[in-house]
Symmetry: C2
Subunit: 336 residues, 2 copies
DNA sequence: GTTCTATACTAAAACGTTTTACCGTTCTCA
DNA sequence: TGAGAACGGTAAAACGTTTTAGTATAGAAC
């Protein structure tokens, strides 16, 4: 049976003082609370030697805070989210906070479940890449005045902190690049979920076509159902390329779609070259190592996570309610 | 100000019963504890309507368990760990458990910090890919009889649950494949950390050379310092390939080393072809999409995480101490 | 020699649960 | 008819902290 951990009571008994005194010292309030330096040192020594660590659960219960930040993403194994998670974890850790995370897999119900779960664990703040149907839950958090920062995906007309990139312009510039390269039939492969981020990627594509006097053809826009297998994605794209041999450029709205696309091309023995270009969202080693190298819209992970963490800590330490900020960074089009 | 969440007391008051009764009902012990079905239904209705969720922190404090599993890896943004994390999270969630994770970045001190932190949050079980210097901390956990499963990296002569692949044979087979392909100068690029997993990858390489009557040349084994930047890795490998033009095959002991290696080759305009082969540890999209495709030792993520979770839950639900199990799966050599 | 202030510390409540031990009724049946 | 069992609940302690509102003593000030 696991030996019980030391409690503040044990330390108090051993030192012949009250638990109040020990508590003050643990929390660095010894001097402020008029505890003699002799006692302070004695207790600190005992704590040190016995390796006493305060029980955070008890502390949470009493204080109503947990020093835990909840992170909700679609899929932690997606390199974009994993990268953000790593950076956020690191920065949070330095301020004494831990991350507890979950993937929603884009299931509407799961967001609610997760938020409830996090709430019941008294997490201090929420970082969320919201899936469809997350709106009401997030509104509730806001009503309860919890620190919340959304990222990657924005919920329109919800007055909430947000960090993301300018997807409209990123798409726009990608298409502009295609036009500059004399591409005539530019396809967009995107995903069939109704979130602003994804919609803007489509809007930017459309607007760029208009501005460059190119026709919009519905047949060149593919909306993949979310959650389909990689094989399905590949099959679907093979079909697309076969039935539309005129396509000479493709913009992929997510990194996994781009990967699927490149696999489809490989399978068909179709080359990316001077007559067929590709641009992917979210840069990665895959694209750098591909032959030929693939152009990409790079999201600045470091900048994004910096901003997220700053917003979170601003809110955590704020006395009164802060006005939500929307931080829009720009994606960098890397042309290869 | 955030409106306070409902407590069991509120529900009890509203229903005119004691909190004991409510607690019994919440925990499905209503019938067993002789609460009338009338009362049970009434309370359940109130709970439902008011959306009451028990405070897990209070529950943890009282029960000493948290329904949280701690996951400690080297770097959550490494696709291998991210993939495992995702799968484990999913399986744990289905049993009502959450994951709280952290990256050690291979800093010896950090493992201790993290374990202490997890302990003070009363996590119910530990899943750890141990970094160097983690041994004593893990021994302590074992003494305290906490459920622990190590994965990826094994600590020799520590009697503890472990799930991993047979690194010796994986390396051995990789080299064997090179020999079959008539390679004469086979290099190993590995990392300079002293963990069994990494050592076995080296041992398998050596043994395969011996068994095939090939000379072992220390100059063909590169141990990269852990934590060096990608650029440093690339530079170092460029040097290697330049100073050892005789090399005609390379086994990379980790996925990020392989990626660095491919970048080095790309930079040098050196091709992977019939006269120069590469095998990487941990398969990934990068290798499938590379031209030519890169052979890899695939670790069976699904199988690994299944085994981890099973071991964890076996321990959590066991009444008495279980004998630790070492589960060694085989890596699959994918020849491309 | 009283009052005031500073010093050095502590008792006890509170956070929201779970669980043990108990208390009244009403039935059952010898 | 009266003893035990079954029924339907409840009071209160405990988990390990933090924090408020003290207490007790010593010295300072007048």
């Amino acid at each position: 049976m696991s030996t019980k951990a030391l409690s503040i009571k044990d330390i108090a008994k051993k030192a012949n003082v009250s638990i109040t005194t020990v508590s003050f010292i643990i929390n660095g309030k010894g001097v402020e609370k008029n505890i003699s330096t002799a006692v302070i040192e004695r207790i600190e020594k005992i704590i040190q030697e016995d390796g006493y660590k305060p029980n955070q659960v008890a502390r949470s219960l009493r204080m109503g805070t947990s020093k835990i930040i909840g992170l909700i993403v679609e899929d932690i194994s997606n390199p974009f989210f994993a990268g953000i998670a790593r950076l956020i974890e690191d920065k949070a850790y330095k301020k004494g906070y831990k991350i507890i995370y979950s993937s929603t897999e884009n299931q509407p119900g799961k967001t609610k479940e997760l938020i409830d779960l996090f709430k019941s664990r008294q997490v201090d703040a929420y970082i969320i890449a919201p899936a469809e149907g997350a709106r009401i839950e997030i509104e509730k958090l806001l009503l309860e005045n919890k620190p919340v920062v959304l990222f990657d995906r924005y919920l329109p007309d919800l007055n909430v902190n947000y960090v993301g990139i300018d997807n409209f312009n990123a798409s726009y510039n990608a298409v502009k690049q295609f036009v500059k390269d004399k591409r005539k039939n530019i396809a967009l492969v995107t995903v069939d979920i109704d979130v602003e981020q994804i919609n803007h990627r489509l809007d930017g594509y459309k607007q760029a076509l208009i501005d460059h006097q190119m026709p919009f053809s519905a047949g060149l826009v593919i909306k993949m159902p979310f959650g389909q297998t990689k094989e399905e994605t590949i099959d679907r794209l093979v079909q697309l390329f076969k039935s539309h041999p005129e396509i000479d450029a493709v913009l992929f709205a997510t990194n996994y779609l781009a990967i699927g696309g490149l696999m489809a091309l490989k399978q068909m023995n179709k080359m990316v070259n001077e007559r067929f270009s590709v641009i992917a969202y979210d840069d990665g080693d895959v694209f750098k190592l591909h032959t030929p190298q693939i152009s990409a819209v790079e999201q600045p992970l470091d900048e994004i996570s910096d901003n997220i963490i700053n917003l979170i800590f601003q809110q955590i330490s704020a006395k009164e309610q802060l006005a939500p900020q929307q931080i829009i960074l720009s994606g960098r089009l890397i042309i290869r």
